[in-house]
């Protein structure tokens, strides 16, 4: 756990509620109180209308693989020691896409449309990274 060689999130005030929730193993998305749009990645304004009145809302953490790639060669820190790995865009039930890794699934079994659920990788004290696995 202390040896996590992959990049860690640089948490700022803007993203702290998201990462605090991850540490509790809860995946958050945002909903705009002005126009009702649900968005991901989280940010200080609604991407649709720029209202600053956005609220955090829990995601069920379920979705499907929108697309993915199995990477066999990379220089990416940490990942180069764990080849191959799966990078993916997941479409959550809430309708938004999330970039993540598909873990604990044979890469040969990953397909577009595969139902997945969030799982948290507790990489360091206070740091849990949302990843996805077969539902």
């Amino acid at each position: 756990m202390a040896d996590y060689a992959k990049p860690l999130p640089e948490i700022t005030a803007e993203s702290k509620p998201f990462w605090d929730a991850c540490a509790r193993h809860e995946l958050l998305v945002q909903k705009c109180r002005a126009c009702g749009t649900v968005q991901y990645y989280p940010r200080g304004v609604c991407a649709a209308c720029w209202s600053a009145d956005v609220e955090w809302t829990p995601s069920a953490g379920r979705g499907r693989v929108y697309t993915f790639t199995v990477t066999y060669r990379t220089q990416a820190r940490g990942f180069r020691d764990e080849l191959p790995y799966v990078l993916a865009w997941i479409e959550l039930e809430e309708g938004v896409q999330v970039m993540s890794n598909i873990v604990a699934v044979d890469p040969a079994k990953v397909a577009v449309g595969l139902p997945v659920r969030v799982t948290f990788d507790d990489v360091k004290e206070g740091f849990s990274i949302p990843k996805f696995t077969a539902a």
Binding site: K6, P7, L8, P9, E10, I11, T12, E14, S15, W19, V29, T37, V38, Q39, Y40, Y41, R43, C46, A47, A48, Y66, T67, F68, T69, V70, T71, Y72, R73, T74, Q75, A76, R77, G78, F79, Y85, L87, A88, W89, G95, V96, Q97, V98, M99, S100, N101, V112, G113, I129, K131
Partner: protein, 381 residues
């Protein structure tokens, strides 16, 4: 129609691996492009390049070149930047802000050992914490678009390989190209898988290189050494993650392409040849669809059967492209150089017959998260 501006001079730095610096490459290219135009250093009053230094952009290169431009643009939106610079230069010229715009690029990606496609893609901004954590690389981001295209439309690795094969055939006719030995679809499929479904030969090469373009006011036409190429239409666009609701199979070309063609009053059928940014084979396939050369989803069939090779219906990337000729980190400038040479009939063995209209489309960034698209429609004098 009335040209917005003329492309009067071009130059491609010939070396693929060099001991020269990125600044030196740009100075030598600038001089050669101005010579090609029949103009000189003293004529330059507008200057455009990418920001090699975050925060100060073109300042060091302007100092090195000892220029005193009246108009400066350091727009940096990935490999398409230089295509966008032509659009910006035309706007500046039309506004009367400058008359002779110089655009340059230089890079030593190869000699400095930059693994452009497979290195960790970290931008140092807020977005990293939602993407870079997961091992993003340039090739991985494009590979995700290829996978989705295969899923939606049944596109195959063989069809993507056709693009690499046709491009290599063109490279075999370009004495400057990095790789000139012909390859087959089988060779592409047998090359190592980098980020599935993209193989090594689906990816562009890494070289040193650079070049320069000279864009001028239409009034200067008579002072030029060669018949200038006319800019008939130009447009740019950005496509991104859209708050988490993006159709990743539609690129910025779907926005910029139709706008540039409309400005020129032309349709895809009028295009004699196209220079399409080929960071990866999938980049070309998606771009051709979005520019309207075929319907969305039919790119795989479109690129097969020799249609995009010399002698085909729409020859593309006749210089051998980024896939086989050169790709020094960014390649937009070469798209314009080759299109101009084709329109002037200077391409020798790889000349497109009766080349009247060329379309240039640059893609910068990554199709799989965010990218820019810049389209130019160029016509011969």
């Amino acid at each position: 129609m009335k040209p917005q501006a003329l492309i009067a001079g071009v130059h491609e730095f010939p070396e693929r691996k060099t001991a020269k610096s990125m600044l030196e490459i740009q100075a030598l290219s600038a001089r050669a492009a101005l010579e090609d135009a029949g103009l000189g250093k003293k004529d330059v009053d507008g200057y455009f390049t990418v920001a090699a230094n975050p925060g100060i952009g073109p300042l060091p290169i302007v100092d090195y070149l000892n220029l005193n431009p009246k108009y400066i643009d350091g727009t940096t939106i990935g490999g398409s930047s230089f295509v966008a610079h032509v659009n910006h230069a035309a706007a500046a010229i039309a506004e009367g802000r400058c008359r002779v715009a110089l655009i340059t690029y230089g890079s030593t990606s190869r000699s400095s050992g930059v693994a452009v496609g497979t290195r960790e893609r970290i931008s140092g901004d807020y977005l990293d914490q939602f993407e870079a954590l997961y091992g993003t690389s340039t090739v991985g981001l494009y590979a995700m678009v290829a996978r989705r295209h295969m899923h939606e439309y049944g596109t195959t690795s063989e069809q993507l390989a056709e693009i690499a094969v046709a491009t290599r055939t063109h490279a075999s006719l370009n004495p400057l190209a990095l790789y000139r030995d012909p390859i087959s679809v089988k060779d592409v499929l047998a090359s190592p898988m980098i980020s599935a479904p993209l193989h090594l030969l689906d990816c562009c090469v890494i070289t040193d290189g650079g070049g320069a373009l000279v864009v001028v006011h239409p009034d200067l036409a008579r002072d030029l050494k060669k018949p200038p190429v006319r800019l008939l239409g130009s447009a740019e666009a950005i496509a991104h993650t859209s708050g988490g609701r993006r159709d990743f199979l539609v690129s910025a070309a779907a926005e910029s392409g139709p706008r540039a063609l409309a400005e020129a009053g032309l349709s895809p059928r009028d295009v004699s040849m196209a220079m399409i940014y080929d960071s990866f084979t999938i980049t070309v396939l998606v771009t051709l669809e979005d520019l309207g050369f075929c319907k969305k989803g039919q790119g795989g069939a479109f690129v097969s059967g020799g249609r995009i090779a010399l002698g085909g219906e729409l020859p593309i990337n006749t210089d051998g492209g980024g896939l086989s000729s050169n790709h020094p980190g960014m390649r937009g400038i070469f798209l314009v150089v080759e299109a101009v040479k084709q329109l002037r009939g200077e391409c020798g063995e790889r000349q497109v017959r009766d080349c009247r209209v060329a379309l240039v489309h640059g893609t910068g960034g990554a199709l799989g998260n965010r990218h820019s698209g810049a389209t130019l429609i160029l016509g011969r004098s």
